[in-house]
């Protein structure tokens, strides 16, 4: 393997290509950050204005033209775009809602997936293979296909406009993946442990609670990541099932904010950045773990 690390023409070429890809990957984000700190006059070329939007005049009383600066760093750093975006929409609230919904969905998925996996892999009964195949159907079912019926069910149970309206469907749609991953992880736990615990007088619940569940901790990260990816960005259910600002999640909230600032790129950029940065920080801190968890899902599944 070491020879690959040598400084050869082909490795240089590979690095150049990879760096081009890195630039393509990062450029939209860089661009978003820069235009979140500009005003339209700077982005498109116009006249110099103060924070209140009034044209600044030179000594002759003429407007001062600004050269178009679409992709460069801001000439004036307009941090005021950020409070604007924060104050109009309730970004903090949307963020919190997304967290509550995702975390609850992850918790429910984990519990249901671990329990079902335990029943299908550690307990002996006829039809457990069939049951597994049944759950795997969920992998290909498109989430949209259940939209109208789930809407009716939620409406009849008076659950629309609550957190539950999103948590339960998200958990249900993450379940198949959760079970698929859990089966891989649980298969790695030696059966001897079950036997030993059984001889110590544990029942099936005891074995699950004291032996299996603690050893499944690595799987929580993996199932958690896959469920998070599914819930955090979901738009359709969130648009239809929740109409009160109080329960809106980030994607819907951000979408609403666009409606008010369609023309002002600065506050829009700020809103986009506010919605993106916390996830990026968490990712930067935990990227190794997140990737490891994601990879474990690919290998175990």
């Amino acid at each position: 393997m070491n020879e690959n690390r040598k400084f050869t023409f082909s490795t240089v070429l590979v690095h150049i290509l990879l760096i081009v890809l890195v630039v393509i990957n990062l450029f939209p984000l860089y661009w978003m950050m820069t235009f979140s700190l500009k005003d339209n006059d700077e982005i498109f070329g116009g006249y110099l204005k103060d924070d209140a939007g009034k044209a600044i005049l030179d000594e002759n009383g003429e407007k001062i033209p600004v050269e178009r600066n679409m992709i460069g760093l801001p000439r004036t750093w307009r941090w005021s775009n950020y409070p604007k975006a924060l104050n109009t929409g309730n970004m903090g609230r949307y963020f919190l809602n997304s967290l509550i919904v995702s975390a609850s969905a992850i918790a429910i998925t984990l519990i249901a997936a671990f329990m079902a996996t335990y029943a299908m892999t550690r307990l002996v009964w006829k039809g457990r293979k069939m049951m597994n195949k049944f759950f795997m159907l969920g992998l290909t079912i498109p989430i949209h296909a259940a939209l109208v019926p789930v809407f009716m069910i939620l409406s009849r149970m008076k659950l629309l406009d609550t957190y539950v309206a999103l948590i339960i469907p998200y958990a249900a749609f993450s379940l198949s993946m959760g079970i698929l991953i859990s089966i891989g992880f649980m298969g790695d736990i030696p059966y001897d442990l079950d036997e030993a615990a059984f001889l110590d007088g544990c029942g099936v619940w005891g074995i699950f609670g004291r032996v299996i569940a603690p050893l499944m901790m690595p799987a929580t990260a993996t199932v958690g990541i896959y469920t998070f990816l599914q819930c955090w960005n979901e738009l359709l259910f969130a648009t239809i099932f929740v109409s009160k600002g109080q329960y809106m999640t980030l994607p819907v909230g951000v979408q609403q904010l666009f409606g008010q600032y369609t023309t002002d790129w600065g506050p829009i950029g700020a809103a986009l950045a506010i919605a993106t940065i916390p996830t990026m920080i968490v990712y930067a801190l935990l990227s190794k773990r997140i990737q490891a968890g994601f990879i474990a899902g690919a290998v175990k599944g």
Binding site: M1, I153, N233, I295
Partner: protein
């Protein structure tokens, strides 16, 4: 362990949370969707449901309908174009996105310097909300957006515009710079951010698979004097076939059900209509619940069919190789 009554009861208890969720939110709604798709109704409660057999499906797949006077007219709810669009998206994903992901994964997995950083950066867009990506790309595709500004800076804006105009047949208007406003450009415009976001997803999956190839297999091949290309072709790719299968299934079914990006990128989805956007429109704007459910049923059938077909395709080839 004895199979006592309590043991059986425990099995049921362990399965219960998953079963309730799965049947309540997936299986039952799908059965309901099938029933709805055979009915016509305009109240969301279904209080005015009338059984119409397969008429909804016939309506979805007829480019033209006949009215009571026997005259033909264009069917505005025709699903054919939307279906073609989603298949085109699936093809683009499979034949452009996946090979690109595979090439990057192959290069990265061979212990290149800065491997981890590359991995982290390529995977990052997966975590950004599609709504945000859609809005960001809207600013790129606008008439006075980034793309046209770049073309202008390169001095080729007019040439590109007249070339695109010559390719546009759906309208008599020349291309004027709005990349999401024309049938011929809108879908492609939507594919680019999808590609941008998900290359990293597939790349990481494949990377994981390649890392799982036993080292002795690779060493043996190198001792035999295999070139890098030969190792890739004859050892690594056959070895990670199961993961490639999963990637293809995700890419195809993902394209069939994609909604968020088009919905955010375009106010009027008519120029890049997909089954899911048509379903949203028919269901929640036109109150055609039966017709919308029929699209849902078509989508389910297609997703299953493609998943099975892809599995079959991979199994046949896999048997020949091993």
């Amino acid at each position: 362990m004895k199979r006592t009554f309590t043991y059986k009861l425990s099995i049921v208890a362990f399965l219960l949370p998953a079963l309730i969720l799965f049947i309540g939110i997936l299986i039952a709604p799908i059965i309901m969707s099938v029933i709805y798709s055979l009915n016509d109704f305009k109240a969301i409660s279904g209080s005015d449901m009338t059984y119409v057999g397969f008429r909804n499906f016939i309506e979805l797949f007829s480019p033209e309908l006949v009215n009571e006077k026997g005259a033909l007219y264009a069917n505005v709810n025709y699903m054919g174009d939307a279906l073609l669009n989603s298949l085109l998206l699936a093809a683009l994903s499979t034949f452009i996105q996946l090979p690109l992901a595979l090439i990057i994964a192959l290069k990265l997995s061979k212990g290149i310097r800065g491997e981890r950083i590359y991995l982290s950066i390529f995977f990052m867009p997966v975590l950004i909300s599609t709504v945000i990506i859609g809005r960001l790309w809207m600013n790129i595709y606008e008439t006075n957006g980034l793309l046209n500004a770049a073309l202008d800076a390169l001095g080729i804006k007019q040439q590109v515009f007249s070339w695109v105009s010559s390719k546009i047949t759906s309208t008599k208007m020349p291309f004027q710079g709005g990349w999401t406003g024309y049938k011929e450009t809108a879908l492609l415009a939507a594919f680019v951010p999808i590609l941008w976001q998900y290359v990293g997803y597939h790349m990481l999956l494949m990377y994981a698979g390649i890392k799982g190839v036993p080292a002795d297999l690779l060493e043996a091949a190198q001792l035999d004097g295999c070139t890098e290309g030969q190792v890739n072709r004859h050892i690594i790719i056959p070895y990670i076939k199961p993961i490639l299968k999963v990637c293809v299934i995700f890419a195809v079914t993902g394209s069939l059900k994609s909604f968020d990006l088009i919905y955010t990128l375009m106010k009027d989805t008519r120029r890049a209509e997909l089954p899911s956007t048509l379903m949203y429109k028919l269901t929640f704007l036109n109150n055609r619940y039966g017709l919308g459910s029929a699209i849902a049923v078509v989508l389910i059938v297609l997703c299953f069919a493609f998943a099975m077909l892809i599995s079959l395709a991979f199994r046949d080839k896999g048997e020949k190789v091993s």
